[in-house]
């Protein structure tokens, strides 16, 4: 396997098939998102903060409303009709997530509050059973704080160490030449992001997992930025754990999932105790329920799970290969426009970029860019994007970021560029 030349995900569709008619009417999909019609500061909303959270289609809003209006009850504990219906919907949603990720079965899916909680679950439960003093955990320099701080805590608890695979520089690629030297004992686990939320880099996840697996190293893939944007198949990727959030894939906030290999999940102790995760409880000892319930203490986010399943139905009807092609086209179009703005510093890979574009405009602070853009109705994000160590490495404190989803249009990218030129003028650039 040649790692050094494959920054392209194997699943990337060829967006270069000019003869085929566009398979999706992207403009028409906008009608499914009521919020996209609203005005902000007296201007039509141009929502370019999708890496932070996506907007929600009516199908999701209505699924949640329908559940609360007609089926609401607690799960796994009643024998009445509504509880049965709620349980069926909730477990059906789990099966939906399993199919979405091509997991080996629904019992490999654990509901969580989102990517952050999924990673914390692995860091706590897998960490407790497997990390020993002197062990190492390999991360990359582009990790979100949620795939970094849980490992710092786990390492401190176990007396383990963190090691980092470097990022090359402004072009935001992993320095894969270093991988072989770093992926060695005492590294026990390798956690990395599929798509960088700051740089838009798409990492070669299957190759990274294959290398780790050859060496008996457990892998954790942060799919927060990929699950709703490109095909994600845990068996093709070959990972041990994969984490993602509902709210970034058109679903509600407060719900997400961890997908884990059954053999590993079976060996891990629970990380939270309570109702719904036990098979029997005595005053001094308890027996755990089987996976996945062992990791799901307390009344879960039932409406969230149902909303997330509706979101999955919605985006799969479009097709994640189509969504990714659309994201990439918008990103490439944005990059072309941004490159023409004098004094603009662009971050991220020159090609094969996901729909995330980070930049700095002259020496104007990202927060000033975002504040002014907002007054023009353009929602961007400015800041460190929960990537402070990466920012420090690149010698900056923040960037402005535009991030796209399937409902964004080329006209919105044009508007972004126009507004950035206005901002330059406003702050006295040439």
């Amino acid at each position: 396997m040649n790692l050094h030349q494959t920054q392209t995900p194997p699943s990337a569709p060829s967006s270069a098939s000019p003869s085929a008619p566009p398979p999706v009417d992207w403009e028409a999909l906008r009608a499914d998102f009521p919020i996209l019609d609203r005005q902000v500061n007296g201007r039509p909303l141009v929502y370019l903060d999708n890496a932070a959270t996506s907007q929600k289609p009516l199908a999701v809003i209505e699924a949640i409303e329908r559940y609360y209006r007609s089926d609401n009850a607690n799960v796994h504990r009643g024998f009445h009709e509504l509880s049965n219906r709620a349980t069926a919907a909730y477990e059906g949603a789990r099966a939906r997530v399993a199919r979405f990720l091509n997991a080996r079965g629904p019992d490999e899916i654990i509901w969580t509050r989102g990517t952050t909680e999924s990673i914390n679950l692995v860091a706590n439960a897998w960490g407790a059973a497997n990390l020993r003093p002197g062990d190492s955990i390999l991360l990359t320099e582009m990790e979100h704080h949620s795939n970094l701080v849980p490992w710092q805590l786990a390492a401190r608890r176990a007396g383990a160490r963190l090691v980092y695979l470097p990022v090359t520089g402004d072009d935001g690629l992993l320095d894969l030449r270093r991988l072989d030297a770093l992926l060695v004992p005492p590294v026990k686990l390798f956690a990395f992001t599929h798509v960088s939320n700051t740089l838009g880099t798409v990492n070669p996840v299957s190759a990274l997992c294959a290398h780790a697996r050859e060496r008996g190293i457990v892998t954790v893939v942060d799919a927060a930025q990929s699950a709703g944007h490109l095909p994600v198949d845990v068996q093709a990727i070959g990972c041990d754990f994969l984490a993602f959030s509902g709210h970034k894939i058109c679903g509600p906030t407060g719900i997400g999932a961890l997908c884990g290999r059954r053999e590993l999940l079976d060996q891990m102790p629970p990380w939270q105790g309570g109702g719904d995760m036990i098979s029997s409880v005595d005053f001094f000892e308890s027996q755990w329920d089987a996976v996945p319930h062992k990791f799901e203490a307390g009344t879960p986010n039932i409406a969230g799970a149902i909303g997330m399943a509706a979101a999955i139905d919605y985006i799969e009807a479009i097709g994640r290969d189509h969504i990714f092609a659309h994201d990439q086209e918008l990103a490439a179009y944005a990059v072309t426009g941004l490159r023409e703005i004098p004094g603009l510093r662009l971050f991220g890979p020159p090609e094969h970029r996901a729909g995330v574009v980070s930049f700095l405009l002259d020496d104007i602070h990202a927060h000033d860019v975002v504040t002014v853009a907002d007054r023009f109705g353009v929602a961007l994000r400015g800041g460190h994007h929960c990537n402070q160590p990466l920012m420090r490495k690149l010698g900056i404190v923040s960037t402005a970021r535009a991030s796209f989803y399937f409902y964004n249009t080329a006209a919105e990218v044009d508007r972004l560029i126009e507004v950035l030129l206005e901002i330059r003028k406003f702050f006295g650039g040439a």
Partner: protein
């Protein structure tokens, strides 16, 4: 819309952010404090040379957005020669102005150009950061102050 923006980014503010005044370390400072805004990554260090309770000289260094830089720069101009009590009283009025747009009492002088910030709630912290740092320096606190602890 542009009116709000022009209120926020007054020419004086843009000018101070581009060429901040008293922008240097003070070798004979006897009080210093750092301010940090973890959300933006803004960092400011205030250097004070005090005689008793009176600020004789005040300078700053750091990086941040236009609002936080201009706020620090103008603050150093306005606090020269003031006592700790005066700074505290001024801070209360500046804070009220940043959150409500109303200065109350006498004219705040140059500081009143920050009144437009109140229409941008997310930016109040940027304007207030260096004030927290000055107060910490006057209290003799050496831990960096953060906009994310205690009220801004």
């Amino acid at each position: 819309m542009m009116d709000d923006l022009n209120d926020l980014y007054q020419q004086v503010i843009l000018d101070h952010s581009r060429s901040p005044r008293n922008f240097r370390a003070l070798p004979d400072a006897n009080r210093t404090a750092q301010g940090h805004n973890p959300l933006c990554g803004d960092n400011v260090t205030l250097y004070l040379r005090c005689e008793g309770d009176v600020i004789r000289e005040i300078t700053f260094q750091g990086s941040g957005c236009a609002i936080s830089k201009a706020s620090a720069s103008i603050l150093t101009e306005c606090l020269q020669g003031r006592t700790k009590q005066e700074v505290e009283a001024l801070f209360e009025r500046v804070r009220a102005m940043l959150t409500t747009g109303q200065a109350g009492g006498d004219d705040l002088g140059k500081l009143s150009i920050f009144a437009g910030v109140h229409k941008f709630p997310a930016r109040v912290k940027c304007a207030i950061l260096s004030w927290h740092a000055v107060l910490a320096a006057l209290e003799g606190k050496s831990d960096p102050v953060s906009t994310e602890e205690g009220g801004a």
